[in-house]
Amino acid sequence: MPVLAGRELRIVGFLCNWCSYGGADTAGVGRFTQPTDLRIIRVPCSGRIDPLFVVKALLGGADGVLVSGCHPRDCHYASGNFYARRRLEVLKGMLPILGLEPGRFEYTWVSASEGQRWQHVVTSFTEQIHTLGPSPIKTAFGLGMTTAMSAMPEGGKHAAA
């Protein structure tokens, strides 16, 4: 039973094909328990991630966005994550002016062998998003709740948990 069952928020994860997607897979093969709020989108390289992907996800109602790539110096394409790091750091500084807590977006590095680290990253990021609660953007845009569970009335949620 996932830790946060019944109170899921929606988190989008952009994972690079060569390291972090493999890391998440390793965690799965190792049967490490993980919260289930994250939906993974596989990209060829963290350098492929246009900061606007993150903005689009957040404006679309995601409660959090996580980007994960190969560790610096380990990029399959040598320098993709170095460019990504600068862009994503700028984005991180910029998002709060929109009215988004800086913690709603994080980026990190997980290698294909680091199943354990992936478990740690996804768990602590999910907890961080739950501490922040649903994105203010959802309320402002009147976006529907993102899971069937959270669409239930309070009582229903408790019943489900």
Binding site: E89, I97, G99, W109, A140
Partner: protein
Amino acid sequence: MQPLEDLKAAIKEALPGLDFVIGWESGWNPLLATPLFMYAPEDVDKLTWGPFNVNNPATYLSALKGKKVGVVVKGCDSRSVVQLLQEKLIRREDLTVFGMPCTGVVDATKIARKVGDLGMISGAKRTNGTLSVTTHEGSLDIPWEEAAADKCLSCQYPNAIISDHFKGDPLPPTLGRDPAAEQLAALEALAPAELFAHWKDAMDRCIRCYACRNACPMCVCRDHCIAQTRDPHWISQDDTVKEKLMFQMIHSLHLAGRCTECGECQRACPVDIPILALRRKLSSVVKNLFDYQAGVDPNAVPPLFTFQVEEAKINERGW
């Protein structure tokens, strides 16, 4: 005004070797000069300089590839020229830059709020600390701080950063208030949900005319702007705040480390949406992270065009 006469003489002298020179002439309204393209000496006689030369003529440059052009710039405009050169979007050898020291330009929006309607203004004149405007109801004296563009109150580059012909005595930086920074600080003091509500409210007025983009000297994709492509379809044609805000984020983020804070985007907005705050924020983020200010050093590499293996100020594992 002797420096202006000297400048005109310099332009006339340079004209035979150029396709044209861009500057300003008096506009339909005494408050707003209009861009002037000088092809012949008679055109040069129309050139004006002063508090109404608001537009940034550097906006035209990136579309003029292959032409030999001259451009008359204020200090802030010259930063756009420098940034365009840094990004190799224009060629230094094709460009002749003319400049004079600048003592600031008006903010028509501020003045419109005072007189009600810009169309009623029949005359405008600046004398040191005052802008006097004439309407059919009489004349109104506005203290310069209340008439000037925000950027001019704390202008750090009143003289062209690069120029081939500079006339007049260079001015020191202006040490006044920085209202744009104050505005940004006020926004940043809001709680996230309130801040988002502010943008929702502000962008609700947006008519998606894209004037903010078109006036921006550093927006160079033109017909290839991703705001209008269908493949990929970044934003739809829906008239929703979400799409409009997405467009502002596209514009802002595409200007990261490139925006020279000339303010043309906000000035061009027909419904006065305070979008400059987004750019100001980005510039301050870039400044803090990379000690970099756009458009001040022709030889610098913009920070997002490069990287360091060890980044001095990025702590990517800090969360």
